[in-house]
Each structure stands twice: as structure tokens, then as C-alpha cells.
């Protein structure tokens, strides 16, 4: 089943999306991640998230679904994820607009982005989701492209380019 994260990764990097879907997630050696993992495991603190069928919403108001991202490194990917949420909600009869908040803004000069789904866009997206599902069921991941700047920060870097 598709999830918001997978849609995000599909837009960001297809190879990452495939690997993640097949649970080839890499150990991240950065200290933050390790501390985070240990703390999380030890405390199991429950975050205030709204979870339904493969989607976890940061915030749901009368008008908006809000997705909060730490950085604005890949806005298109985050927006794709948000669109996915909107469609899942819509299928349940919940109509909302999307709102993306980035905590750190480096590349963009605004930190809040909004989006509204049109009927036409919905049709396109449904088709796209089918092709993502097909893609995920393929036997092998797409080979890594030439090293891109985003690869240097990616947890899969060593795996991809070894």
C-alpha cells in the first residue's frame, strides 16, 4: 500500500523510494539519529499525530491539512506527499486544502505553502499512484544516477555508490 512517505520519496528519488519500500533502510550513523533512536525506544513518547490508513497527519483543522517539515530542501516532494493526504481524505469525504510549513528555510523565501486540489489534478494523481505501485513491485530498483548534490546527504549514499 502507498503511504505519504513513499509518494514523497518517489518524487525525491525513485531509487530511495524502492529501497525504502523493501525495508532496505540504512543505519544512519549520525549522532542525532542514534540519540533519537535510543530516546525513542526508551521513552516511547507518543507524538500528537493523527493516523489513518497509511497517512500520519501533523495537523488537521477545519480548513487545512498541515504537514510540517524540518527543512525546505525538497518542496516538490513534500507537496506531493501533501497531495496524497488530500486525496486519501477526500476519498473519505473530508475536503481540505493543503498547507506545508517548513521550520528552517534555506532555499525559499517563504516558509508556508498552500495547495488546493482540482478535479483535473485528482485524475492525474490517481493515475500516477497506480504507476508508483507498479514501480514498487518491480524486481530491482532503478540503478543510482550520477552522484547528485542531494546524494551527499542521503543515508543511502554509501550503498548507492559503493
Amino acid at each position: 500500500m502507498l503511504t505519504g512517505t513513499l509518494v514523497n520519496y518517489y518524487t525525491h528519488c525513485r531509487r530511495q523510494c524502492w529501497l525504502f519500500y523493501h525495508h532496505i533502510n540504512m543505519e544512519d550513523n549520525s549522532e542525532d539519529v542514534r540519540i533519537g533512536r535510543v530516546l525513542h525506544e526508551l521513552k516511547k513518547q507518543d507524538k500528537k499525530e493523527i493516523a489513518l490508513e497509511g497517512i500520519k497527519l501533523d495537523k488537521l483543522t477545519a480548513e487545512y491539512v498541515t504537514e510540517i517539515k524540518k527543512s525546505d530542501a525538497d518542496i516538490p516532494a513534500a507537496m506531493a506527499q501533501l497531495e496524497y493526504y488530500l486525496i486519501v481524505l477526500r476519498d473519505k469525504g473530508i475536503m481540505r486544502k493543503g498547507r506545508l510549513e517548513c521550520i528552517e528555510k534555506n532555499k525559499q523565501n517563504k516558509s508556508i505553502h498552500t495547495l488546493t486540489l482540482t478535479e483535473e489534478r485528482m485524475g492525474e494523481l490517481k493515475k500516477e499512484y497506480r504507476s508508483i505501485e507498479e514501480f514498487l513491485n518491480s524486481d530491482v530498483p532503478p540503478p543510482p544516477p550520477k552522484i547528485k548534490p542531494m546524494c551527499k546527504k542521503c543515508a543511502y549514499f554509501e550503498y548507492c555508490f559503493i
Binding site: 525495508h23 532496505i24 549522532e31 540519540i35 533512536r37 535510543v38 530498483p141 554509501e158 555508490f161 559503493i162
Partner: protein, 333 residues
């Protein structure tokens, strides 16, 4: 020592306090913060509680236990946090269908890395090594290529190591040169060093494989039934010459370790004593944490990371069919 490995040599008790592992021994407490501990070695009698094991399991800290006589007792292997059903199935299938495709490069890689180690001595005047070096370089790849059978491949591997041991007469002082490799129990100083070094590397490799999705029991060169962590035997093979043997040669030839001072006299010098064990581990760890510029990644990595990267290469072969070529000292990749 820049390392996330903690070695415990004295007797004592391990327990948890806040986010630290505490080792209480006779002369005081030592604190190991959880966040930068990945691996623990216990070389003495150590008591630990279930509660601590819970912490170790959650934090993914691997613990290796040794008896007082350097004998490896076993490993506390925390619950896996990296698991991919797809990969596990594919790894088993690869064993069934393509065992030699993985096993052969391991044998060739071992020969290459032995060649690398010995070439250094050849260049420094040990001209008698030439014949063996040529054999490694020219004959071994052909022999490996031609074989279609795992037993024969293992015989080639055996011949490589036997030939390597023969060269010790050339490169080690007489007190350490050996006639015959005796494993369990080792019967002289050099066998003691080799056994201890190989076991250390084996356990290090277990820890590195823990941080990948590979299944530790499905091996290719070695029989999967050989040990509980038989994949570690496979992946550590090519690293033995460059990590274990170079450490031994360095310690012995530079007199950091001597028969009189660092071996147990009452056991006929067939085991290291406390001082010997510590010296060896220190030298071994230093080598393991040494970094170099990786040829394809264009990043500095340590030899320890190189072991994990070989795990990634194996995953890539299993999952994506990319040719498996284990670490080679000459091209540093």
C-alpha cells in the same frame, strides 16, 4: 582511542544508570554513554542484569564475551532493527543458485590482499618471496576461475593460507616463525596471535553485519552450518591479511610484543597474557580505525567501515545483481 568500542579487561559488574552503561570494578566506576557505544568486549568475569540487556538490546549494542584464556564464548546479539524479508529470501536463493559467484571473489580477494602484504617485504629485500607472489598473482585467479565446485575452491583457499604461513620464516624472527598452523588450542606464540586476531576480526565483522540487513547465518564460501554467524567468516576473510596479519607483523617485528613479556609462561607461551592481549587489541583497534580515501566514494572511511561496505556490496549483488568484488587493498575499494 577514537572508537565506539569498549573493552573490559577486569572483573566487575555492568549496569544501567540514566543513559549510560556503568561498569563497576574494584577501583571505581567507568561510564560508557549509550549514544556512542556500539560494541562491548568482555574479557573477564562480568556480571550483568536483564535490565541492562534490555538497554543493550534497544540501543543495538553488540556484546562479545571471552573467557579468561582468550577463548571466545559468544555474542549477545540484540534484536535486529534492520530486516528486509525480500533480501532474506533473495540471500537464501543466492546461496542456492549462485554460491560460487560470491565465494570465488572472496578467495581471489584474499589472495590479492596477501599479495599486498607480502609485496612490502619483497620490496624490502625478501626476494625469496617472489615465487609465492607470482603464484598468488598469476595462478590463483586461473585456478579459481576453472573450478566449478565449492570443495575444490576451499582447497585452493587452504593452499593460499598454507603458502602464506610458509613465508613467515622469511618475515618474522625465529621465536615467532611457525611450522604448522594449529588452531584449537593454539600451541605456540604465533598461533596464539593468529587465533586471537582472527577471532577479534570475526567478532568485529559480526557487529558490522548487524548494522546491515544481511542474514548472519547464510554464508557462501563457508558452510552455513559452520558457525552461528557464518557470514562473518566469509566477509572477514579478505580483511585478515591486512588487519590481523599486518597487526601481528607490526607488533612482532617492532618488538611491541615479545615471547618473554607478552605470553603466558606457565602455559608454554601458547596464550597471550594480560599485557599481550591489551597491546595487541590496541594495535588492532588502531589499524581498524585508520582512515583512507575511498576510491569510488571519494570520502575518507575507516577499515571498520570498509567491512560494512563489503556487506553493502553483497546486498547489492543479491538484490540488484551487481558483481560482488570484496575489499582490495591495492585499489582501496
Amino acid at each position: 582511542m577514537n572508537s565506539d568500542t569498549r573493552y573490559i579487561f577486569s572483573t566487575g559488574e555492568l549496569f544501567q544508570k540514566d543513559f549510560s552503561i556503568v561498569f563497576r570494578k574494584e577501583d571505581g566506576n567507568i561510564y560508557f554513554p549509550v549514544k556512542d557505544t556500539r560494541e562491548l568486549y568482555c574479557f573477564n568475569e562480568v556480571t550483568l542484569s536483564t535490565k541492562l540487556m534490555q538497554l543493550l538490546a534497544k540501543a543495538g549494542i553488540v556484546v562479545h564475551f571471552f573467557g579468561y584464556y582468550e577463548n571466545y564464548i559468544g555474542t549477545f546479539y540484540p534484536k535486529e532493527y534492520l530486516l528486509s524479508g525480500r533480501l532474506t529470501v533473495a540471500q537464501a536463493l543466492a546461496y542456492g543458485n549462485n554460491r560460487l559467484t560470491v565465494a570465488k571473489p572472496i578467495v581471489c580477494g584474499t589472495a590479492k590482499n596477501i599479495h599486498f602484504v607480502l609485496y612490502h617485504y619483497y620490496r624490502h629485500g625478501k626476494s625469496d618471496l617472489k615465487e609465492f607472489l607470482d603464484w598468488l598473482h598469476k595462478s590463483v585467479p586461473k585456478l579459481v576461475d576453472d573450478t566449478g565446485d565449492i570443495k575444490q575452491l576451499l582447497r585452493i583457499e587452504g593452499a593460499i593460507w598454507a603458502g602464506f604461513y610458509q613465508t613467515f620464516r622469511e618475515i618474522l624472527p625465529e621465536s615467532f616463525a611457525m611450522n604448522k598452523r594449529v588452531k584449537r588450542p593454539p600451541d605456540n606464540p604465533i598461533n596464539a596471535l593468529i587465533s586471537f586476531g582472527n577471532t577479534l576480526l570475526y567478532t568485529k565483522t559480526i557487529t558490522e553485519i548487524y548494522h546491515t540487513h544481511l542474514n548472519q547465518t547464510i554464508s557462501f564460501l563457508h558452510e552455513p552450518a559452520e558457525r552461528r554467524f557464518s557470514l562473518s567468516l566469509d566477509l572477514s576473510e579478505v580483511f585478515k591479511p591486512i588487519l590481523v596479519y599486518r597487526t601481528i607483523f607490526d607488533c612482532v617485528n617492532n618488538r611491541k610484543i615479545t615471547v618473554e613479556k607478552h605470553f603466558n609462561k606457565s602455559l608454554n607461551y601458547a596464550l597471550l597474557n594480560d599485557a599481550g592481549r591489551k597491546t595487541f587489541i590496541e594495535a588492532f583497534d588502531e589499524r581498524l580505525n585508520q582512515t583512507f580515501e575511498h576510491n569510488t566514494l571519494k570520502r575518507r572511511i575507516s577499515f571498520k567501515q570498509a567491512i560494512r561496505l563489503d556487506g553493502y556490496k553483497l546486498i547489492k549483488y543479491i538484490l540488484e545483481g551487481k558483481k560482488f568484488v570484496p575489499f582490495c587493498m591495492e585499489d582501496k575499494k
